[in-house]
């Protein structure tokens, strides 16, 4: 209990200290110390509570509720303030409505309600805790070095503007130069605190507050640059996520106003399993879907990449979107062959297929990563919608391995962008020669996203099996074609990263130490997790499924065995060991230098430079652009129909849900 509270309080105190102590050195010490402390706390918590789940009642929960309500209102006020300044009326409206509904909920229903369990720990929240502390922490450490060079870059840009001499430009330049990194880091830690609160809260009103804090933190972080584009995109994000939050609040009010009022997450899931709830579940699912940036809401996550890379890494791996899928996975026992279940499943499946195809057409590295995130979350959402223990196994596995791989990939792309000056995949040319270890980390992260023997592939395999077993044969097509598309995204990119061109200057040495260390740590973590695949299943995922089954008295869940079988997991692990062993051989082997020239059809001029004499006898470089299949999977072709289709799906399902709800009453 003390550990639970300190996991929320430590990052908050760190955030305050970061606002006070603004020197680079103090910041580095604070961030590293806080991250070490958080990781230690989460490990202690894991050892202490795994595998059983326990719930606690908080003394003075009334006061905590007031604090939580206050925080929620502050969030709304902040969005209101920013909305008024930017004259964004939709954001103003949503924030005001949210604040009013939160007040109504607290004082109209929730405040004096008898709640037996305020906070809880179970295997799933422990998994989330470890992801938030370890991966989120690593990203915070990474951000130390990254933001240093980011600030230098801003100052460089600023001074360039200032030199141009125009008065309006000078003001802009001054704004650019202003060092607001203390705010940045404080927000990152508030984000972590909100995530911890989110995975421990059983009292729904607290959960809602944590939910809203993540929305507002992401809003502030996306708009960190204060450029026109970043402000526009931050509002796009906050509007989508406030709509989700509104759906969340409406669900809570419906639950509280029902025949048997419900104020707790575990009670909600119990009632949901009995089939007594339709519309509240759909509203909560809607909230999860918006936060997980599923189609047609994917726009906010794509826009979010204007923020500095650590923000993207945090949003995509351990926080924000993971909060959305966390909620859906929690609710998974209530889903299945029912209206909310099918709703979640269809939205997830279509998002998976659509965004995988879209990712192929992206040459902007961060955009490609963002589409791939939405796609993978789509698969998680889809699995949650299936609602069987096997599908939940796949969903949790996807959650873990996606977090580990995506954090690494985003951080790699961020570092590459700073040192190569572009986030275009085509500009990564020769990175294997210039920054060999960074290219290796990137390659590792990419392979971890789609190929055997890594976790994502194992999860996809499990998803496939669980879909067959639950009778969703139509989705098998989605998965089969989606997997093939996934191969294209990563294979061509991997080829670019691992290409060895001419001898080139090595620039790896210029990367800051915190970046290097945290990238190496994330790569190590990914390798360790892949080797430990069978144990991740045995120690974390299976206990969660069994516990859930026992608490909810679901026989299928309490006797579930892992989907693929322990033997197959072991085989996967062994295959990975073989790969690692061969890699070690390759590294240790004395390498013969290149002793051949590249084939340029007899008119080659310089093999190193890949140049040749063209038909006019002039010197040309032989360059090759990757396949993006724009004419098949481009944004111009796919986004519009997908948005229309998915909006229609959501509308139809809600009409169904409302009719069903009326019939239930």
């Amino acid at each position: 209990m003390v550990i639970l509270a300190s996991l929320v309080i430590v990052p908050l105190i760190t955030a305050l200290l970061l606002l006070v102590f603004r020197s680079n050195r103090a910041r580095a010490v604070l961030v590293i110390a806080a991250v070490v402390l958080l990781v230690a706390l989460s490990l202690v918590l894991t050892v202490r509570y795994l595998p059983a789940s326990s719930g606690f009642a908080v003394a003075q929960s009334g006061i905590v509720s007031y604090v939580m309500l206050g925080v929620d209102l502050l969030c709304c006020l902040y969005v209101l303030y920013r909305g008024i300044r930017a004259s964004n009326y939709l954001a103003i409206f949503l924030a005001a409505l949210q604040g009013i509904l939160a007040l109504v909920y607290e004082f109209g229903f929730s405040h004096n309600a008898a709640v037996s369990t305020d906070v809880y720990v179970d295997a799933l929240s422990l998994i989330m805790t470890l992801i938030i502390a370890v991966i989120g922490g690593a990203i915070c450490v990474y951000a130390l070095g990254y933001m240093q060079s980011y600030q230098e870059h801003l100052e460089h840009e600023g001074s360039r503007l200032a030199v141009s001499g125009e008065p309006s430009r000078v003001a802009e330049a001054l704004r650019l130069i202003r060092d607001r990194r203390h705010v940045f880091f404080a927000l990152m830690f508030v984000f972590l605190a909100a995530m911890f609160a989110l995975v421990f809260s059983n009292r729904l009103s607290w959960l809602l507050t944590a939910w809203e804090v993540t929305t507002v933190c992401s809003f502030a972080l996306i708009g960190y640059d204060r450029t026109e584009e970043s402000i526009r995109n931050s509002f796009r994000a906050v509007v989508v996520n406030l709509s989700g939050g509104l759906a969340f609040t409406l669900a809570l009010i419906m639950l509280a106003g029902g025949g048997t009022p419900i104020f707790e997450l575990d009670k909600l899931i119990e009632a949901g399993v009995d089939g007594a709830l339709v519309l509240p579940l759909m509203l909560l699912a809607f909230a999860g879907i918006t936060k997980a940036a599923q189609m047609p809401f994917q726009g906010w996550l794509l826009g979010a990449m204007v923020a500095p890379t650590p923000v993207s890494a945090l949003l995509h791996s351990s926080t924000m979107v993971k909060a959305g899928v966390f909620l859906l996975i929690k609710l998974a026992p209530t889903f299945g062959w029912n209206v909310p279940g099918l709703f979640v499943l269809i939205v997830g499946a279509l998002s998976f297929l659509g965004c995988t195809a879209l990712a192929i057409s992206q040459s902007n590295a961060k955009r490609a990563l963002a589409y791939s995130t939405v796609a993978n979350l789509g698969l998680i959402v889809c699995c949650a919608g299936v609602g069987t223990p096997e599908a939940s196994w796949a969903a949790i596995f996807l959650l873990i391995f996606h977090a580990a791989a995506k954090a690494l990939l985003f951080c790699c792309v961020g570092t590459a962008e700073h040192h190569l000056g572009s986030r275009n995949i085509e500009r990564l040319d020769n990175i294997f020669v210039r920054m060999p270890w960074l290219a290796s980390c990137m390659a590792l992260g990419m392979m971890a996203m789609f190929i055997a023997p890594f976790g994502m592939l194992v999860s996809k395999w499990a998803a496939l099996v669980s879909l067959i077993e639950s009778g969703h044969l139509e989705l098998l097509f989605v998965l089969a074609f989606g997997s093939a598309l996934t191969f294209v995204i990563w294979a061509k990119w991997l080829g670019k990263v691992l290409a060895i061109g001419r001898e080139d200057e090595r620039i790896s040495t210029r990367v800051s130490r915190t970046e290097t260390v945290s990238l190496a740590f994330m790569a190590f973590l990914l390798i360790a997790l892949t080797l430990a695949i069978p144990y991740v299943s045995e120690l974390f995922v299976m206990p969660y499924l069994w516990e859930t089954g026992q608490i909810l008295q679901l026989p299928l869940w309490s006797t579930a065995s892992d989907v693929l079988g322990y033997d197959n997991l072991m085989i996967v692990s062994v295959v990975f060991m073989v790969m690692l062993a061969l890699l070690a051989v390759q590294i240790l082997r004395r390498r013969p230098p290149s002793n051949d020239t590249v084939y340029l059809a007899g008119v080659g001029a310089d093999s190193e430079e890949r140049s040749y004499y063209n038909a006019f006898g002039e010197l040309s470089d032989a360059t090759q652009r990757n396949w993006y299949l724009d004419e098949l999977f481009g944004e111009k072709i796919l986004v519009r129909p997908a948005t229309i289709l998915l909006s229609a799906v959501i509308a139809v399902f809600f009409i169904f849900g409302i009719i069903l709800e009326l019939m239930l009453v």
Binding site: W461, F477, S483, F487, A491, Q586, R589
Partner: protein, 294 residues
């Protein structure tokens, strides 16, 4: 699949795989020659070729290409061993994709314009055949209630009876996997329709020998897929499976010699259409056979 059966299958596949693959290619070259009105090389010519390649001076653009190719070979051997040991059919699929990936990376690693074109085309080929291979595993499960290839041994009727259309889909994409014209986009054995040497442009000597041997293993594995549709409870059906597999290989040679290479758009769209139609209709067929309507 026990560790023992896997070990036996591994040893057997390591030894017999390239032998069979070599003989198949030798026969292929003679049959192809006869179809074209030539006498053709000796039956063991593929073996002589590989032996000569292995003896050549080592030249390479970098030290990684050979490494990736060895990884591709090992993954192919592993997947074949899992397949013939009666292991999980999806695992076989995933290991084959891993092998393809390493082959593709090997080509990309050279940063050679011609090899990159070939590698890009190889990716499109994976995109074209992968859905059908995965769906095949799914249908396998729907019939046998297991993902283990050994489950065919307890069937009362061969898979082809229940899944004729899935078999047809497999035949379609088999042309891609066996690198036969009209779908030999990434590299071709026919000199007349190849620009340079596609994905293998920068592979020579030992590297090229490894590619050739990997291809032998792959051919045997994929003919194993064909055979899988014709094996059921009586052990003697294994002979039938071998005969059908050989017949299919002959059919592929005929196709190889009858069509010129197509554009990638044609290959991709038709592979997907055929995969989608074959599997969707198979689902309907299964539903009708089982006497319920989905």
């Amino acid at each position: 699949m026990t560790p023992l059966s896997f070990g036996v299958a591994l040893v057997a596949f390591v030894i017999l795989g390239p032998l069979l693959g070599c003989f198949l290619t030798g026969a292929d070259r003679i049959i192809t020659a006869r179809m074209q009105g030539r006498v053709g090389p000796p039956f063991l010519q593929p073996y002589y070729d590989v032996r000569k390649l292995l003896a050549k001076e080592r030249r390479s653009l970098n030290s990684f290409q050979g490494y990736y190719l060895i990884l591709a070979l090992i993954m192919t051997i592993l997947s074949g061993a899992f397949f013939f040991a009666g292991g999980n059919i999806l695992l076989v699929v995933f290991l084959i994709s891993l092998s393809s990936l390493f082959f593709i990376i090997a080509a990309y690693s050279t940063r050679s314009p011609y090899a990159e074109v070939g590698a890009g085309r190889e990716i499109i080929q994976v995109l074209a055949y992968e859905p059908m291979i995965i769906l095949l595993g799914v249908f396998f499960f729907l019939i046998t209630d297991s993902f283990d290839t050994s489950a065919v041994a307890s069937l009362e009727l061969p898979l082809v009876v229940a899944l004729p259309l899935v078999f047809a889909g497999l035949l379609f994409i088999l042309t891609i996997k066996l690198r036969k014209s009209p779908f030999d986009l990434s590299f071709s054995h026919h000199a007349h329709q190849e620009l340079v040497k596609g994905i293998t442009t920068e592979m020579s000597g030992r590297s090229l020998a490894v590619v050739e041997i990997t291809h032998w293993y792959e051919n045997v594995l994929f003919l194993g897929y064909v055979g899988l549709f014709f094996v059921w409870a009586p052990p003697s059906t294994l002979i039938l499976a071998v005969v059908v597999a050989l017949a299919v290989y002959f059919l592929e040679i005929v196709i190889d010699n009858s069509f010129a290479r197509v554009k990638w758009q044609f290959m991709l769209s038709w592979s997907w259409i055929v995969s989608l139609l074959c599997s969707a209709l198979s689902l309907v067929l299964l539903a009708v056979l089982n006497g319920f309507v989905v």
